[in-house]
Symmetry: C2
Subunit: 227 residues, 2 copies
């Protein structure tokens, strides 16, 4: 359990490094040191060296990293050199916003289809993406080689939809319903719970002195200032 | 830096505990042990005890936790006993989906207003929420006591909008633009980058044997099976 979590934090950091390297390339840079990368993007240089060493030796003494090589390596590690096809279940406002999401175009994920049970929506299009009947899910998954499902359905239907999606052979699922779901052990389920993000803002607003490493233990006695 | 991160992971877990306790209450339970909570919701019981002890002693020997008391405590710790007013900037599909987001209704956050620069949208409503001219942002923030901003604008405008929002006195910002933004040190910025979530799915699809704690170091030689 813990090991898997560490691995996900690491891949999240690799995603961020890749974004920074892309920006450096756009600026015309060819090489970068871990210190340079850390400084420019407010990252931790020791962490960068550790993360990259974990996947093999990329750095060159006295030079740092060749940006182009490093981008290729990280792209491969993250599996971003393979295309994936996404099916979004739920053609409400959120599902349609996701079909249209700018970020998808930046990645190796292409939204192939939307699915809904509402007859009025079926056959309509959001940009290039058609809305299909959820009843035809398995069929469209096979036809379009969909390998990732995004759940944008109301919370009360999410578990049921997850099971339907899993039965159709999908192994990677992103869930936006703000409830915990249970997936089969061979399925990777990633829940994006915006409520939890909101609650961390709430915590900050309740205790604004908690920023910048001044992490005061709420029940601990305050340090006395000597006069 | 690290300390702040730990604190956020902890508050995220508190959010999850609270959700579980709400479910137990709905089922009529009055008390729960850390082991019971862990088993029922696939959590780590030692972690639960550690997290809760950090904020004071809640458990009672031989009984576990009184659910109602614990809910009240966590609600207070997370600042969920105070209402917050949210302004969403960007009335595109994502912004409108967020104005309508089911999860908001579950929290102490109320969406008070949407903002956009597009004249055709200004004055329209999404459910109960009106779309205002971004030019009137500071004024509406004061009028409606908005203390949280959600950025649902295209990436290229996000930094500029963040600065506008900060100038209006907002201290807590949730950003959906998939780029790193720089906030003043007294502002809590929470970026929800869906691209990073997608890339962790991509990593899983490239290396499906990575689940269930079988975290194979990608470059490490495979263990040989003795015959």
């Amino acid at each position: 359990m813990k090991v898997e979590k560490i691995s996900e934090l690491t891949t999240n950091r690799l995603s961020i490094y890749l974004r920074c390297l892309n920006e450096l390339t756009a600026q015309g840079a060819k090489t970068v040191s871990s210190d340079g990368l850390a400084q420019k993007f407010h990252l931790n240089s020791a962490q960068i060296r550790k993360d990259l060493a974990y996947f093999g030796e990329f750095g060159v003494r006295g030079v740092g990293y060749y940006i182009d090589d490093l981008r290729k390596h990280i792209t491969k590690i993250l599996g971003l050199d393979r295309r994936h096809c996404v099916g979004i279940i739920g053609a409400g406002r959120l599902g349609m916003a996701l079909a249209d999401y700018y970020g998808f175009a930046q990645t190796n994920f292409t939204v192939a289809a939307l699915f809904d049970a509402d007859r009025k929506k079926i056959g309509q299009k959001v940009g290039e993406v058609e809305i299909f009947d959820i009843k035809d899910f398995s069929e469209i998954v096979k036809r379009d080689k969909i390998d990732v499902a995004v759940l944008a359905v109301p919370a009360e239907f999410a578990q049921e939809v997850l099971e339907k999606v899993t039965e159709a052979g999908i192994k990677a699922v992103m869930n936006f319903a703000p409830i915990p779901l249970r997936a089969r052990s061979d399925v990777k389920l990633k829940t994006v719970d915006l409520t939890i993000s909101l609650e961390s803002l709430s915590y900050f607003l309740a205790k604004p002195n908690n920023l910048n490493g001044k992490n005061v233990k709420p029940n601990a006695p305050k340090a006395r200032i000597k006069k």
